[in-house]
């Protein structure tokens, strides 16, 4: 599902046919070139360079859905879509998100199995300032894919005060869509109440609130992990994750576990409908 206020690079211009259509087409082309050029941004992120270890990613292959302008850097919706795959070899097994303009560039890492049907992933992230968001993905055959998207932030995301009141912390929610249409993947939405303290926030008395984050998330089916995620402090408070599951191969009960950096954890289950 596309978020109403986010844009897709490849989306056709909206509106009725118009004489300006061709000019708009030209604009889109220019935008696309600019985006492709900006893609090389991963070259300037040491963590990304280390990961690639000399490999050359296919620029622009990942589609990033993010608002062009956001007034609230503390919770910016992000969706990553993978290119159409011909066969399991081309599906993504690892995904890395970076925000190079943040105090530390790593945002999140995901490890994905074919049970997810190569479907999209959505979460919400913190952006400290206007910057490109960079995604890198590795397919099962070892190819690297990349995507970049520029976001303008008008209010920073790292200084926004969290509420000290975390009475509901560690309370999870999960839901899978129950309507299954032939050939379509099932949405699984997950959220856990958590302050995701960055370790950068100061109290009124000048003392620093220590870092406290949800560090990992796991979805298991029949004891086997089908998705695991590592969150860094740039994942927004109340970590949100939407992923897809292939109902033909992976229907049934999913066990979800969130683990804090303190070692404490919370869990929930969700029923994914099966499809023939």
């Amino acid at each position: 599902m596309t978020h109403p206020y986010t844009t897709r690079l490849s989306a056709p211009p909206s509106g009725a046919p118009h004489p300006l259509r061709r000019v708009i087409g030209l604009f889109a082309a220019i935008l696309f070139l600019a985006a492709a050029a900006a893609d090389a941004r991963w070259e300037r992120i040491p963590e990304a360079v280390a990961l690639l270890d000399g490999a050359e990613p296919r620029a622009g292959a990942l589609e990033l859905d993010l608002p062009t302008v956001t007034q609230n850097g503390s919770s910016v919706p992000l969706t990553v879509r993978f290119p159409e795959s011909r066969g399991e070899n081309e599906t993504v097994e690892a995904l890395y998100i970076f925000a190079p303009g943040n105090p530390s560039p790593e945002v999140a890492e995901f490890s994905l199995t074919p049970a997810l049907g190569n479907g999209e992933l959505s979460t919400r992230i913190r952006l400290n300032q206007s910057q490109p968001v960079v995604a890198l993905a590795r397919t099962r055959s070892g190819d690297w894919l990349a995507g970049t998207r520029e976001v303008r932030v008008t209010v920073s995301g790292c200084i926004t005060a969290n509420q000290d009141n975390d009475a509901n912390a560690m309370q999870p929610r999960a839901r899978a869509s129950q309507r299954v249409r032939t050939g379509q993947l099932v949405d699984v939405r997950t959220l856990i109440r958590h302050p995701m303290e960055t370790g950068l926030r100061e109290r009124d008395d000048g003392t620093v609130v220590p870092e406290r984050i949800i560090q990992s998330f796991e979805a298991r089916r029949n004891g086997e992990t089908i998705l695991s995620a590592r969150f860094h402090r740039a994942v927004s408070a109340n970590p949100y994750l939407l992923f897809h599951v292939d109902p033909r191969t992976a229907g049934g009960t999913l066990e979800l576990t969130w683990t804090e950096d303190t070692g404490e954890s919370a869990s929930a289950t969700v029923e994914v409908p099966s499809a023939p």
Binding site: H3, P4, Y5, T7, R8, A11, P13, S14, G15, A16, H18, P19, L20, R21, V23, I24, F27, P67, T68, V69, T70, Q71, N72, S74, S75, R152, T154, V155, T160, N168, R173, A174, R175, R189, L191, R193, A237, N238, Y240
Partner: protein, 436 residues
Amino acid sequence: MKHGAFNRRNALKLMGTGGLGLLFGGAAVRGSASSRSGRVVVVGGGFGGATAAKYLKRISPGLDVTLVEPAKRYYTCPFTNLYLGGLREFESLGHGYDELRDRYGVRVVHAMAKDIDVSGKKVVLEDGSELPWDRLVLSPGIDFRWGALEGYDEAASQKAPHAWKAGPQTHLLRRQLEAMEDGGTFILVAPENPYRCPPGPYERVSMIAHYMKTHKPRSKVLLLDAKDVFSKQGLFQQGWRDNYGDRIEWVGRSDDGRVMRVDADKLEVETEFGTIHKADVLNVVPPQKAGIIAERAGVTDETGWVPVDPATFRARRAEDIYVIGDATEAAPMPKSGFVANSQAKAVARAIAAELAGLDPIAEPGWANTCYSVIAPDYGITVANVYEVHDGELREVPGSGGVSPMEATPAFRSREAAYAEAWYAAIAQDTWGTRPA
């Protein structure tokens, strides 16, 4: 579409004969070569458009300025919440165009613009007639993305009103409130950013709570929000507690406040994690986009809003078309009537200077103040000044602020009085009409 020369006969028929002298009389703008270089058409007679038309004539009386607006009387969204709360008469929110026409010499055409011929530089009206322009200003406000929220289309809004444009929708919501039994639940569904009037949903529930307190004391308000933070949040929540106890319940996105589906027949909504809420009166503020005429002009982008050059508010995707008000992507400026009025003045100056062959305004600036009335004697504000910095709009550092969290009742009461004064002043500045 015809790209022919300007057709005088049509234009005369359209515009009436009153403004003949203005249209074809010699150039009045200092430095402009001919009268033909001074035709400005403004589409939309709301906060942005009416202000732009008036200030163009004030700055350059010789300009030929035509305002296109279907309504003979424009009703403001600002203070419709106070109408719902029983604090204002609806008619006091209506403003006509007599002063713009009679006092400032703006030609007012009451029609809907159907299309914009960009290369031929003409506005096409519903009846097929055309208005030629040298510069075009669009201030069409918003339209709704019907269907973007599952189950919420135009038909659904007849049962679960949005009341996010002033008029029949506002009356419908008021009638539903009046018909509601005491003990009923009012649900407001608030959208993601950006949308018209960031504090609007929170002022609305305040005024609904006031109505309940005075008429239906056992009733409750539930605000289901797609956001985790909102404008003046601390002040609103404090004001709700102070005035209405626990009557208003706000559920943010991370507490499952994001509505994914509306059933207008059953007055039910379903949230992201599957909770079903049943309302007695259901008010849905749907996702929005720029007024459709902006799409027709080809100036919107994939977001549905209009990107503009920050210094001039010229549309990035067209020559000689300026866009102001809610239709623009002008963050961090909010989509408010105050901002539309402020942008309109800057655009009027820019266009007048350009048509007169003068240099552009060196350092344009804009301002905003949003008053919200929580109870009859309880008002709060947020104010900011904006500038262009490194080619982008930003808040002037240290320029703004919100009402203090610790304030005396007298302070809150004064702010409520200032809100009334603000309304009278901006209506006067925009349409030149005296408050009713």
